[in-house]
């Protein structure tokens, strides 16, 4: 029988209690302590990040959660069951750190095989395979043996196989390894999309930018031990600085701002750095490829894809399909333009997204809300064009002349009300309230 169902209530999906993992050699002597007294919980519908450098115990922890390894001591439960329980595994999708696939199968056969392992019937398998292949952009290459695929293409198949069962818990171990920036963006957007649908995701990576863009809560490991845990804001927001972003300002205006700050703070605070933001390489790359695709240049690799499979959006039934049709009929021009500017939110071409019937259904029937959320969920590349300046204000009043490298606008903390009023006065009361990490969750 095929297992199904989603988590209910607020019971943690994954619980790790004081787990230790010691690898032993042939003579049963301790060889390496990979995980050391690690405890954490992953709650329903959250994206949980597991961060750490190589050898910090991330993959070992994931393998223990999946039942591929047994903890030396400690306890792990997944959906309230043992990690080796078949019922629990039926609700998990797993993407390992490398693509371990049957090289003799082609993409379609690969997905069909894994679909059968979930005992999905033939009709469901065929539909999901079509949608997943389309989503990962391998429809044209679906009959080529997987061993002939590039690393990135294999990674895409790996992602597709992890999603074939529409999992409640998705475990992604270094999901962006081997992917080009477009694929990386797609994966991030997919994670956000799935999280919006209420899926629980465990994301392991040593690429901090990957994690920062997606996760709600994260744990940082080093040497198998937990070093920090909390939400992104808790861990990342600097309470001692304020950043302001505006249209290009001339030197006089900047001096005036500096003067106002000094006078309001009694000379203890000043403008520390004034710079013009640089576009990120990722944004530049995405822009170039998007333009190349719009010129219809051919490629033997993966095509754009990127439209999330409808079954992953909960549109598996007829009612869902009808809803999709209804919603597709009324995408606003502003939404289409915003998506085009983002290079396709799930990595597709603007034209792909504009014509995709499923695109507008991602967050359910409330299309206006979805539209606004999707707008705010645009990657930085889409918003960069409107920004021209970033000023960082330091409470300590220390000037810095180093060139700015980070273009993220940080949402002011609630405790900085005094600073906020200064900024508002400077900007004529119209403070920018866009989310820094480019995502919002309904």
């Amino acid at each position: 029988m095929a297992y199904s169902g989603t988590s209910s209530g607020n019971e943690p999906i994954v619980v790790c209690q004081a787990i230790n993992k010691v690898f032993k050699d042939f003579w049963m002597r301790d060889r390496a302590r990979a995980v050391n007294n690690l405890s954490f919980e992953i709650r329903p519908r959250e994206v949980f990040g597991l961060l750490g450098p190589n050898g910090s115990g991330k993959s070992t922890t994931i393998k223990m959660i999946l039942g591929l390894l047994r903890p030396t001591t400690g306890r792990i439960s997944v959906f309230g069951k043992s990690p080796s329980d078949v019922g629990a595994k039926a609700r998990i999708g797993y993407l390992p750190e490398e693509s371990y696939l049957y090289g003799f199968l082609n993409a379609r056969e690969t997905l069909d095989y894994y679909g059968k392992l979930f005992e999905l019937d033939g009709k469901t398998r065929a539909r999901r395979i079509d949608e997943l292949l389309d989503m990962i952009g391998l429809t044209a290459a679906q009959f080529r043996p997987v061993r002939e695929y590039s690393k990135g293409m294999q990674r895409r198949i790996g992602i597709a196989q992890a999603l074939i069962n529409d999992p409640d818990l998705l475990i992604l171990d270094e999901p962006t390894t081997g992917l080009d920036p477009i694929g990386t963006r797609q994966v991030k957007d997919l994670i956000i999309d799935l999280a919006r649908r209420g899926k629980t995701i465990l994301l392991s990576s040593h690429l901090l930018a990957d994690v920062e863009d997606c996760v709600d809560r994260l744990t940082i490991l080093y040497g198998g031990q937990k070093r920090a845990e909390g939400t992104c804001d808790e861990l990342l927001v600097s309470q001692s600085k304020t950043s302001i972003e505006s249209e290009t300002l001339d030197d006089d205006t900047v001096s005036e701002i500096d003067r106002v700050i000094r006078s309001r703070s009694g000379g203890t605070k000043s403008v520390l750095r004034v710079s013009k933001p640089r576009q990120t390489l990722e944004a530049l790359f995405l822009d170039i490829v998007t333009r190349a695709r719009s010129e219809q240049l051919s490629t033997s690799g993966a095509t754009s894809g990127g439209v999330t499979a409808s079954f992953l959006k909960g549109a598996d039934d007829a009612a869902g399909a009808a809803l999709i049709d209804k919603l597709v009929a009324a995408p606003t021009l502003a939404q289409a333009q915003a998506e085009a500017a983002a290079g396709g939110l799930l990595g597709g071409l603007p034209s792909d997204d504009a014509r995709s019937p499923t695109r507008a259904t991602a967050a359910g029937p409330d299309s206006d809300v979805i539209g606004s959320l999707l707008n705010s969920a645009q990657p930085e590349a889409a918003k960069m064009g409107n920004r021209s300046n970033i000023a960082e204000l330091n409470d300590a009043g220390v000037n810095s002349t180093s060139a700015p490298t980070k273009s993220t606008a940080v949402k002011p903390a609630a405790s900085n009300d005094a600073d906020r009023s200064v900024i508002d006065s400077l900007l004529g009361g119209g403070g920018n309230s866009s989310e820094g990490n480019g995502r919002d969750r309904s």
Partner: protein
């Protein structure tokens, strides 16, 4: 439209329902028209009755004579019964040469294959390959005599490949259900067809089997050609498939763990037992498909050989003498090889149990005195080994009695009784007496004369035979009495000329038996194939089990060792009887005891496996009964079950991921 697109279009056409229905009707019509044409042609008047369907020269029964005595009447009736039995045998043999039956069978077989291919969605592919193959090979065969052998070989390869592809497709369809074990099995099957490792084995199998007929010497008697083909065909293909089974069953599990592909499978809702079952099922189905392909080829070519002229025949089933008689070559082929004969050993000699026990006791006492005479250590040794010693002395004495029963001194006559031959009396095939004698050093140039006496039959039969070789004597079924008993007297020497042989002789353990036909070659062949498949299923589980906890080379080595032990268990058990575990002085050789213990345990464990001997039974035309198959099935199924549980237990205890050093 590109070539690839054209092929894709053709594939869609052959898979369409319309094509399937239309092609089925067409093929059926062709077969019906051919059959009707043949019937019409067959019923047309012919000038002479020559040919394989010609009549059989029946023996004439002896008419009663005036004033014959009771003794003469009984003798006449006995002779008439013999003539009738002989006629029955000849008629039975000649009926097998009927071309009509053969054609109808072939037509039915061809129709089944064609319909099967059409409904599997490969009708056009198979038809295209056959037509293309014929277009190349027929001109090669007809116009280039020097390449006839090559053309025949390629035709064989083509047919075997077509069979393989079709059967693999059938197996794939059977394994298409969305159940985890079945999905894994299907994946194993796909892996087998796409991996170089297995492809090499399959190529060797197909080319070897296709080339085998070309290696048979056409000048040897037909029966030897058929036996050689069956021996090499069945034995050789089983050997290759068993190697493939062991290597592939190990590879499919071991490589998956080595390459970490198993992570993807075992993080899906797959229980450990489902994984092991799936792997085993896949390898077993693959072995079954290969066995079915090769055995079909073997059977069809054996039938082809059967239709070739035997020694002394002008054409198949037509004696060169033109008198409708059956040549020796043909008779032996039809009555001893291409049949299923039940074998009976002579009854063991009756022994006076009281006297036997007395002799055992005497021997035990002698041995005890010898051991006890060596002091206190001897007393202890005797106390420990008294039961074992008595058992061994009893066993040795019984063996000695049996050997003495089978040993004939110069000029001596011994009577042997065979029981349970009731069904042979009414059989249309002769009773075969098979014997082999040993004498001295079995000089290859020595010829001994044996005189065979059958109670109730006048006169005796003298045979001049070589040593240490099997010889056959065909007897009419009438020699078996109404109770199903046959008594044969054998004398060491020529009774007619009163000339004895120079030395005594003996029949080895398997050197004297009678057999009679109880079934067809075809049914026996099916049972042989079933047993071979059973053995392969066992080997597959051995390989899967070993691969759950050892690496590929180690698992292969151990699996091959188990395979060799299983195949040679009967031989090993016989050899162990002469294996010394103590010195002449009665001191125990502990190392030898250990070896003997292990070897005995292994041999006993696999004795049933070894005793089945499907290939040798097929080659000798001996019956492999359903009871043998059932016994083998039960024992091997138990072994498979035990290994399955062991594999699942081992697999559950293993951590599939290892320390990568990356955390």
């Amino acid at each position: 439209m590109t070539f690839r697109e054209r092929l894709a279009k053709l594939d869609r056409i052959q898979q369409s329902l319309g094509f399937r229905i239309g092609a089925s009707i067409f093929v059926t019509l062709v077969v019906v028209v051919l059959a009707v044409t043949h019937v019409v042609a067959r019923n047309a008047p012919v000038a002479s009755g020559t040919g394989s369907d010609s009549g059989v020269a029946a023996g004439s029964a002896l008419a009663p004579q005036e004033g014959e005595s009771d003794a003469q009447r009984l003798e006449r009736e006995r002779l008439n019964a013999g003539i009738a039995a002989s006629d029955k045998i000849i008629t039975s043999i000649m009926s097998r040469g009927s071309t009509s039956n053969r054609l109808y069978t072939m037509a039915l077989l061809g129709w089944c294959v064609a319909i099967g291919a059409i409904w599997l969605g490969v009708g056009l592919t198979m038809g295209g390959v056959l037509v293309g193959g014929a277009a190349v090979l027929l001109p090669m065969y007809i116009f280039m005599p020097s390449l006839r052998g090559t053309a025949t070989l390629l035709a064989g390869v083509l047919i075997l490949f077509i069979s393989l592809i079709t059967l693999m497709r059938v197996a794939g369809m059977l394994l298409s259900a969305p159940y985890r074990s079945i999905a894994i099995a299907r994946n194993v099957l796909t892996e087998a067809t796409r991996l170089k490792l297995t492809s090499i084995f399959i190529l060797i199998l197909i080319f070897g089997l296709a080339a085998l007929p070309g290696l048979l010497d056409p000048n040897t008697p037909l029966r030897y050609r058929v036996q050689s083909f069956l021996q090499w065909g069945t034995g050789g293909t089983f050997f290759i498939i068993s190697l493939l089974t062991v290597v592939f069953s190990v590879a499919t599990v071991a490589f998956e763990q080595r390459d970490k592909v198993i992570w993807q499978t075992m993080t899906k809702p797959v229980a450990h037992w489902e994984y092991i079952l799936g792997k085993w099922l896949g390898v077993t189905v693959l072995a079954g498909v290969l066995l079915l392909v090769s055995s079909s080829g073997i059977y069809l070519f054996a039938q082809y050989l059967r239709q070739q002229p035997a020694l002394g025949e002008s054409s198949a089933y037509v004696s060169g003498d033109g008198d409708g008689s059956v040549t020796d070559d043909r008779r032996v082929l039809e009555t001893q090889i291409l049949v299923a004969r039940l074998t009976k050993q002579p009854q063991p000699p009756e022994v006076d149990q009281k006297q036997f026990d007395l002799n055992v006791q005497t021997k035990v006492e002698e041995e005890a005195n010898r051991i006890l005479g060596s002091g206190s250590s001897g007393v202890e040794a005797f106390a420990q080994r008294s039961d074992e010693m008595r058992e061994k002395i009893s066993s040795d004495l019984r063996k000695s009695v049996n050997i003495a029963y089978r040993t004939l001194d110069v000029g001596q006559t011994q009577y042997f009784m065979f029981e349970g031959l009731g069904s042979a009396r009414n059989s249309s095939t002769p009773v075969i007496l098979r014997y082999k004698i040993n004498s001295g050093t079995d000089r290859p140039d020595a010829l001994y004369r044996l005189t065979f006496i059958f109670p109730g039959v006048q006169g005796a039969l003298v045979q001049e035979v070589g040593l240490a070789k099997f010889h056959y004597l065909e007897l009419l079924p009438t020699v078996v009495d109404a109770e199903g008993k046959l008594v044969v007297g054998i004398a060491n020497g020529d009774f007619e000329t009163r000339r004895p042989n120079p030395f005594g002789l003996s029949f080895p353990k398997d050197g004297l038996e009678v057999s009679f036909s109880v079934g067809s070659f075809e049914a026996n062949f099916v049972r042989v194939v079933a047993v071979l498949w059973l053995k392969l299923a066992f080997l597959a589980m051995v390989g899967v089990f070993m691969a759950t906890f050892t690496s590929f080379p180690v698992a292969c080595l151990v699996s091959f060792a188990i395979y060799a032990s299983a195949e040679g268990a009967t031989f090993l058990l016989g050899a162990l009887e002469n294996y010394r575990t103590q010195t002449n002085e009665g001191q125990t050789l502990y190392f030898n005891v250990g070896i003997a213990f292990i070897a005995t345990w292994i041999s006993k464990a696999f004795k049933v496996y070894s005793d089945l001997q499907p290939t040798s039974r097929l080659v000798d035309g001996r019956l492999l009964g359903w009871s043998d198959v059932a016994q083998g099935t039960v024992v091997l199924a138990c072994w498979i079950g035990v290994l399955f549980l062991a594999a699942v237990t081992t697999f559950r205890r293993r951590e599939l991921a290892t320390y990568s050093g990356n955390g």
